[in-house]
């Protein structure tokens, strides 16, 4: 168990005419090794939720425990928390600021108070991990890179803090299909090598179905359902209630079913679908 959340509620600007409830008694446990996908329409509380995990938002009610850091305490160890939970915001390339890529990536580790040597090593490792050439890119200005490169550098800036939990808010937003694929491959690689637990917010149902082993459906500040994508994405009622669309593979399977082709399982990615169709053909 890496993250445990109980009865988390949050209201924006409470006590003013602008007060609005963002989270209503959310409870969820995230285990080490999970690849959790968070989905829900705009304003369903997803972003507010993940910002809590990094203590970017002050806890109003409920409890959050990240490993041994208890956020209900008066002064939780924020440095430790932010070294444990790495957060890649939406359009992370807009947070780049320093003169060189190397300096920018070392911003996080520096804030953690690591030694010069340690920082250098981590920066080199992080830049290499995100698929860029350290020697080529380290002295360039982050502002002269291409869009995809910028995003990689920004992700490297978080990876260099060696978080055990990596959270990404819409990591594929604004990328072309190839860029999307590359980022998703990168995330999978990061999960295997550096951060065993990954949480992503995404509107890309195909990406969620393909990669995540757990999904949580947010709607109106609550988690309506949580479980394996295979179970939830085949639940028409749930999809309708959260105003989400099924992934292409699910739609395809259902379309086949309507034409009299009933597969023996609920495939959730391309490989499974192909296997299931082959089995059906061989019958």
């Amino acid at each position: 168990m890496s993250i445990e959340i109980k009865d988390l509620s949050y209201v924006y600007s409470p006590g003013t005419p602008y007060a609005s409830t963002a989270l209503k008694s959310v409870s969820i446990t995230i285990n080490e090794g999970d690849f959790l996908g968070i989905i829900g329409k705009t304003g369903s509380g997803k972003s507010t939720f993940i910002q809590h995990l990094n203590a970017l938002i002050k806890l109003q009610s409920g409890s959050i425990k990240v490993y041994d850091i208890d956020l209900t305490q008066k002064k939780p160890d924020l440095k430790k928390l932010r070294g444990t939970v790495g957060m890649v915001m939406q359009y992370p390339e807009y947070q780049l600021f320093d003169e060189t890529v190397e300096k920018d990536v070392s911003y996080g580790p520096k804030n953690l108070g690591l030694s010069e040597e340690e920082i250098k090593g981590r920066v080199r490792e992080a830049i290499t991990l995100v698929g860029l050439s350290y020697d080529e890119i380290k002295d360039r200005s982050p502002f002269e890179l291409s869009g995809g490169q910028k995003r990689r550098v920004a992700i490297a800036g978080v990876i260099a803090m060696r978080p055990r939990v990596l959270i990404l808010d819409e990591p594929t937003a604004g990328l072309d299909p190839r860029g999307k694929k590359e980022i998703l491959t990168l995330i999978k690689k990061l999960k295997e090598t550096s951060s065993p637990t990954v949480i992503i917010i995404s509107h890309d149902m195909d990406a969620v179905a393909e990669n995540c082993d757990k999904v949580a459906f947010f709607s109106g500040g609550e988690i309506l359902a949580e479980g394996a994508p295979r179970d939830l994405f085949y639940d028409d009622d749930l999809l309708a209630r959260t105003e989400m669309e099924a992934p292409a593979i699910v739609k395809l399977t259902k379309a086949l079913e309507n034409r009299g082709v009933t597969l023996d399982s609920h495939p959730i990615n391309k490989q499974e679908f192909v296997q299931a169709v082959k089995r059906w053909r061989d019958e």
Partner: protein, 277 residues
């Protein structure tokens, strides 16, 4: 889009909120002039009652109104202390080494404090009851006569409204960037002034880069829709005067007239007294 309204605006939908912003703006300008003509404590009291009355009608909680005074508390303190110690005249009340406090000094300090607070309160009521967009529209409308002498009134108004519209966007952006850098371990709250200023660099650089990018995009979008500042255009919200504007305006005018009469008509006090006899 709950962030479009920003700053001080405090929506209650009262009569004052619905008044024509032009009248409100004119009233505030007149008010500011009037405050400088206040002669004695009675009139300070009267104006204070007037301001509180308006805020009551506007349904603005006293706490919210007084919060606006907080921003000038330092200015008030410093100026009144200076006045207290350096005004000579009247009776000498306290003499303690080099420090001498005269009765005139106390009067000066109290009046100055009252004046500054009054100067803050009523214009705050304007911003509490009027959206920035309404204000810009009002300014544009009031500046119209300047067109005759070739002042680009519309362009000025456009610049103002774009600037106003950008404030909440930039604030949101600042917020986002601060969160992102906080997630990377940034600490904006501890350390001395220098350290705090330095900690803002990772926020300010992306903010500026973003602001320029946005300005570029906006210019392009406006060009794409053939925007021209000289073309004649209509308004989405047309302002027109109604009875409540007339009544509100007259009330303000009456209050201000009383202050002027009090200052310039030497027999005013006795006239008022005679009225009540």
């Amino acid at each position: 889009m709950n962030n479009i309204v920003f700053g001080q605006y405090y929506p209650t939908g009262s009569v004052v909120h619905r008044m024509d912003p032009r009248i409100k703006l004119l009233a505030v300008i007149l008010y500011i002039v009037t405050v400088f003509f206040i002669k004695d404590y009675t009139m300070y009291g009267a104006i204070l009652v007037f301001v509180l009355g308006v805020s009551c009608v506007a349904k603005i909680p006293l706490k919210v109104l007084l919060r606006t005074v907080r921003t000038i508390i330092f200015l008030v303190l410093i100026t009144s202390i200076i006045n207290l110690f350096f005004t000579r005249g009247g009776k000498l009340l306290v003499k303690w080494g080099v420090i001498k406090i005269y009765s005139e000094g106390i009067h000066h300090a109290v009046k100055l404090t009252l004046r500054l607070i009054l100067l803050m309160l009523f214009p705050s009521l304007l911003t509490l009851t009027t959206t920035p967009m309404e204000l810009t529209d009002a300014m544009e409308s009031l500046m119209k006569p300047l067109k005759v002498i070739k002042v680009p009134v519309h362009a000025i108004a456009l610049i103002m409204s774009i600037a106003l519209r950008m404030i909440p966007i930039l604030m949101e952006e600042t917020n986002k960037i601060m969160l992102a850098q906080k997630a990377r371990g940034a600490d904006f709250d501890s350390g001395g002034v220098l350290k705090k200023a330095k900690a803002m660099i990772p926020v300010l650089v992306p903010l500026f880069v973003g602001a320029f990018r946005r300005a570029d995009e906006l210019a392009l979008a406006m060009d794409a829709r053939c925007y021209s500042s000289v073309a004649k255009r209509t308004k989405y919200k047309v302002m027109h005067l109604s009875v409540r504007d007339l009544v509100g305006g007259l009330i303000c005018l009456a209050v201000f007239t009383v202050v002027f009469l009090n200052k310039y008509l030497w027999a005013f006090d006795s006239m008022i007294l005679a009225l009540f006899k």
